[in-house]
């Protein structure tokens, strides 16, 4: 960051605000400095430490590549690497198979329930994938519902959940909404005339999709697909829970937790994880470049969605139902499991009980409480940082302000497990006056969550500020308000919707996040929900209460998201009426 200020000068202020800005005030300078220190302490230094350790000799600290050579010579690691690549790629393929029909049917046809499908499509996201994994085992495992029935009726089983298949299946079901969201948006943004022009020239049916629709939606698809690839590549808990150890992220975790924090292999794997993340993002950025195909509707007649013929209708509903049933299977399974007395070797539970919920509310409520605290704090930190960075970048002339944005966004490329390892390594040595290492404090978990979710909150705040015309602020200043008062009375109220959206995104995803926390949780009393779930789900006896806890987590996140959605909509309406 030392040369950040000089390098930043090359980047001219962007956007329509360049005439507005005056030179930075001391207050803005202090704010920028505070943010820089925060990002340095909790993002750049921990990640830098990981990279440093990977490239230096243990003990002496001299530069070396020998750790990477060791990595390349170890069969287990190479196998893990290819397994991770294979699983990520296949998850993208399977997720695409789920997302493509849903996106196409709901955006291109007059389809009843299109809204409902788009909403249900989000559901998998608000449950950690490893929680779904257990439910999926019970439904699709060797002795799960589906295979038991298949075996009874037809005498064969399908290895949905065997080995890597299980990871692929669970991840595809969990992450397919990323493709659904991006692809739907891309499809919706294509001017209908693009398709009609092709029909007018003699093209129809699948050829139309292949030659016009899909190429135009490609950038959106790539964006979603690369996100899925990265998420799967980085995910730690799902493979561990399915007892798949020969993948990269689990290997990093296992090395650090079993061999120790001094072993360089965990760090080397971390660097590989970072590189793969950056690679996937680069591919996505390249695919998007110069291909902003979003074509705004000009000219009439673009509203109509096509009516389906009866047989098409039947086929479409069948496909949609099947896919929804599949992607909602983890939720259904979890719900059943949470009420089940015993559920094993049978298509459905033997009996139903409320005992698991009783137990969870009795002894495990601390997890819920911790999660609420951690996720709220993380969300709060994120929107404060996000708003401040957005303001500095868009509304001031501060030299090097773009670097704040880039640094905060860089967190996207840092897998949770890597951040966790970095925190352990960096903060274990730092001790409080009473001798407890900094790394064992619960606040470190909050900071890790905040850093992980910062990019999303930042984008929400950024977009909100970008939509506010500078003239509104100029009007306030013209009437005598100082910069600070203008921010407080004009900017923040107008940004409220975007800030809240940023908070919710951070909160909801932080509430179910595990990869970074798995490393950092030191005692059960400090553990968040996701960790509690993980602990429960590891033992057969814990699955009932675990499922109950999972259902509570899903409800919690869904409720918060829904509530804030209402608030945002209401404030948007109020603002719309004011204009």
């Amino acid at each position: 960051m030392a040369d950040a200020t000089t390098a930043g000068r090359a980047h001219a202020p962007s956007g329509p605000f360049r005439h507005f800005m005056t030179s930075a005030t001391p207050g803005q300078l202090a704010l920028a400095l505070a943010i820089t220190v925060f990002l340095a302490l909790f993002l750049i230094i921990p990640v830098g430490t990981v990279i440093y350790v990977a490239f230096t000799e243990k003990g002496t600290g001299t530069f070396t590549l020998v750790n990477f050579v060791d990595f390349a010579r170890t069969d287990l690691f190479i196998r893990s690497f290819w397994n991770s690549v294979y699983v990520s790629a296949m998850s993208v393929v399977l997720a695409s198979i789920f997302a493509l029909p849903l996106a196409y049917i709901t955006t291109r046809f007059d389809f009843r329930g299109a809204m409902l499908i788009q909403t249900l499509g989000f559901l998998p996201l608000i449950m950690p994938p490893f929680v779904g994994a257990v439910a999926m085992l019970l439904l699709f495992g060797r002795n799960g519902t589906v295979n038991l029935l298949l075996n009874d009726w037809f005498g064969f089983r399908i290895p949905f959940m065997e080995g890597l298949n299980g990871v692929i299946f669970v991840q595809a079901v969990h992450y397919f909404p990323f493709i659904l969201i991006n692809l739907s948006a891309a499809l919706r943004n294509i001017d209908r005339a693009m398709e009609e022009a092709a029909q007018n020239l003699g093209c129809s049916g699948f050829r139309l999709f292949r030659r016009i629709v899909f190429p135009l939606a490609m950038p959106g698809y790539i964006a979603g697909a690369s996100l899925v690839f990265v998420k799967v590549f980085d995910d730690l808990a799902t493979p561990l829970l399915l007892n798949v150890k020969d993948m990269l992220a689990p290997q990093a975790y296992l090395r650090v937790t079993s061999i120790g924090i001094a072993d360089p292999m965990g760090y080397v794997i971390s660097v590989v994880l970072i590189v793969m993340s950056i690679l996937a993002m680069w591919v996505s950025a390249r695919a998007m470049r110069g291909k902003d195909y979003a074509t705004v509707q000009r000219g009439g007649g673009g509203l109509a969605k096509r009516q389906m013929r009866p047989w098409e209708s039947v086929a479409a509903y069948a496909a949609v139902l099947l896919i929804l049933l599949l992607v909602l299977a983890p939720h259904i399974g979890l719900l059943l499991l949470s009420f089940a007395t015993i559920w094993s070797f049978s298509p459905l539970p033997d009996g139903f009980t409320l005992a698991h919920y009783g137990r969870v509310f009795g002894e495990s409520f601390v997890y819920v409480k911790n999660t609420l605290i951690y996720a709220s704090l993380a969300g709060l930190i994120d929107v404060v940082l996000g708003t401040a960075i957005a303001y500095l970048v868009l509304r001031t002339k501060l030299i090097g302000r773009q670097w704040l944005d880039w640094a905060a966004t860089a967190a996207l490329a840092i897998p949770g497990v890597v951040l966790g390892i970095g925190y352990l390594r960096t903060f274990y040595g730092v001790q409080l006056p009473d001798g407890t290492p900094l790394a064992t404090l619960w606040i470190v978990i909050v900071l890790a969550l905040a850093i992980r979710r910062l990019p999303y909150a930042l984008r929400a705040c950024y977009a909100a500020l970008q939509q506010i015309s500078v003239s509104l602020e100029e009007a306030a200043e013209n009437l005598g308000a100082t910069k600070v008062r203008t921010v407080r009375r004009i900017v923040l109220p107008l940004m409220a919707g975007g800030i809240l959206a940023g908070f919710v995104t951070s909160f909801a995803t932080a509430a179910v996040e595990l990869s970074a926390t798995l490393m950092l949780v030191q005692s059960n009393a400090d553990a968040p929900l996701a960790y509690g779930l993980y602990v429960f789900m590891q033992s057969a006896a814990g699955r009932g209460p675990g499922a109950a806890l999972g259902v509570i987590a899903v409800l919690l996140v869904a409720l918060c998201t829904f509530a804030s959605h209402l608030i945002i909509e209401k404030s948007q309406k109020a603002k719309g009426a004011g204009h």
């Binding site: 001017d191 005339a193 693009m194 009609e196 022009a197 092709a198 029909q199 007018n200 020239l201 003699g202 093209c203 129809s204 050829r207 030659r211 016009i212 190429p215 135009l216 490609m218 291909k291 195909y293 074509t295 509707q297 000009r298 000219g299 009439g300 007649g301 109509a304």
Partner: protein
């Protein structure tokens, strides 16, 4: 753009389009109401009307993107209502051009031919001919986003004529161009249409566009055809008040018909009256309609009648001065050629309004 060779490459036998009592509703919104039109082979025909009157809907119906509730559409004598868009051979140029951004100009133009499984060599030839016809051969390998608005528009036209459609449909093709380009491109379009001899339907809400390039115009309002005719016919003999006021400026003066001494008179207000020529039929409740240039201020021997008026305001338009004059209780616009050095009547001045009766019409609705 003057390549006779290209024209013969792309020329096709002109056909007519027959629209017979077509009806169409979106839900309860009755958008097309019993449309009857016959467009002759090789004709440049316009649908002209205010925004929202159903022009695009009618055009899309011919192309097959809308389905009529009743009536039929015949292209070259063949009923096409049951055909999907991709089987109609009716080329449409979209208002937004709808050029595919992921294909080069050449690929865009070749698209329709590829869909028709035309042999590769033939595709090459026809794409080259179409691009040459619109003067864009040198930009064949560009992406649409690298072209100006006018160039994009010409690619859209080339893409459509490359398939040698039976009919060419243009939906407000000039609306996304700036004023200067508009004049140039509309001339090019007219030129191209003349050389191809292609039956063409042109949708616009701009009367000047329709007047300058079309053989005949169907004026539409509220989902119904008001009048069909050449630009001159429509201007001089409007069939109703809507057509009169939509094409150019018209003074519409209410009044009543009275008989005096065996002669018919039109009384605008008590005492303000003018004779009605013997050959003119005046329907019940009709209003007097005349153009601003068919009246004059002050003594003018060429005018047939003279009415007392008061100047309300004046606008200097360069070659003419437009006066707002109160005649009886009606307010009319009158254009007077501007002669340098001549004084302009002040508001409040009493003037004589002269009127040419053979240019005036009486219309009831």
């Amino acid at each position: 753009m003057n390549q006779p060779l290209s024209v013969s490459t792309l020329g096709a036998q002109a056909v007519d389009v027959d629209i017979r009592s077509v009806d169409l509703s979106y839900g309860t919104n009755h958008v097309l109401k019993g449309i009857d039109l016959h467009i002759r082979p090789g004709e440049f025909f316009a649908f002209l009307g205010p925004s929202g009157c159903g022009k695009t809907t009618l055009l899309r119906l011919i192309a097959g993107f809308n389905r009529a509730d009743g009536g039929e559409v015949l292209v070259g004598g063949r009923e096409v209502s049951h055909l999907p868009p991709w089987k109609r051979d009716v080329g449409m140029v979209f208002q937004s051009y709808a050029l595919w951004p992921h294909m080069s100009v050449k690929r865009n133009v070749a698209f329709g031919l590829e869909e028709r499984k035309v042999p590769r060599a033939e595709i090459e030839r026809r794409v080259a001919a179409a691009l040459e016809l619109v003067g864009l051969s040198h930009l064949a390998d560009r992406r649409p986003s690298q072209l100006s608005g006018g160039q994009q528009q010409r690619v859209a036209v080339a893409r459509t004529i490359a398939i040698e459609p039976k009919v060419l449909l243009l939906d407000e093709p000039l609306s996304n161009l700036d004023a200067k380009m508009r004049v140039q491109v509309r001339r090019e379009l007219r030129d191209l249409q003349q050389r191809l001899g292609l039956t063409t339907i042109f949708v616009t809400h701009d009367q000047e566009e329709a007047n300058t390039i079309c053989d005949r115009i169907a004026v539409m309002n509220d989902g119904a055809v008001q009048q069909v005719g050449s630009p001159m016919e429509l201007y001089e003999k409007p069939a109703n008040l809507f057509v009169a006021s939509f094409l150019g400026t018209a003074n519409i003066v209410p009044g009543r018909v009275i008989e005096e001494g065996g002669a018919r008179l039109f009384e605008i207000d008590a005492g303000v009256r003018l004779p009605i020529p013997a050959h003119v039929t005046v329907p019940e409740g009709a209003k007097l309609v005349f153009r601003p240039q068919h009246a004059s201020l002050g003594a003018d021997g060429a005018r047939d009648v003279s009415l007392p008026g008061t100047v309300l305001h004046s606008e200097f338009l360069g070659s003419t001065v437009r006066y707002g004059v109160k005649v009886g209780s009606a307010e009319v616009s009158i254009d007077v050629p501007f002669q340098s050095g001549e004084a302009i009547h002040k508001p409040g001045a009493a003037v004589e309004v002269g009127l040419s009766l053979n240019a005036a019409v009486w219309l009831a609705s």
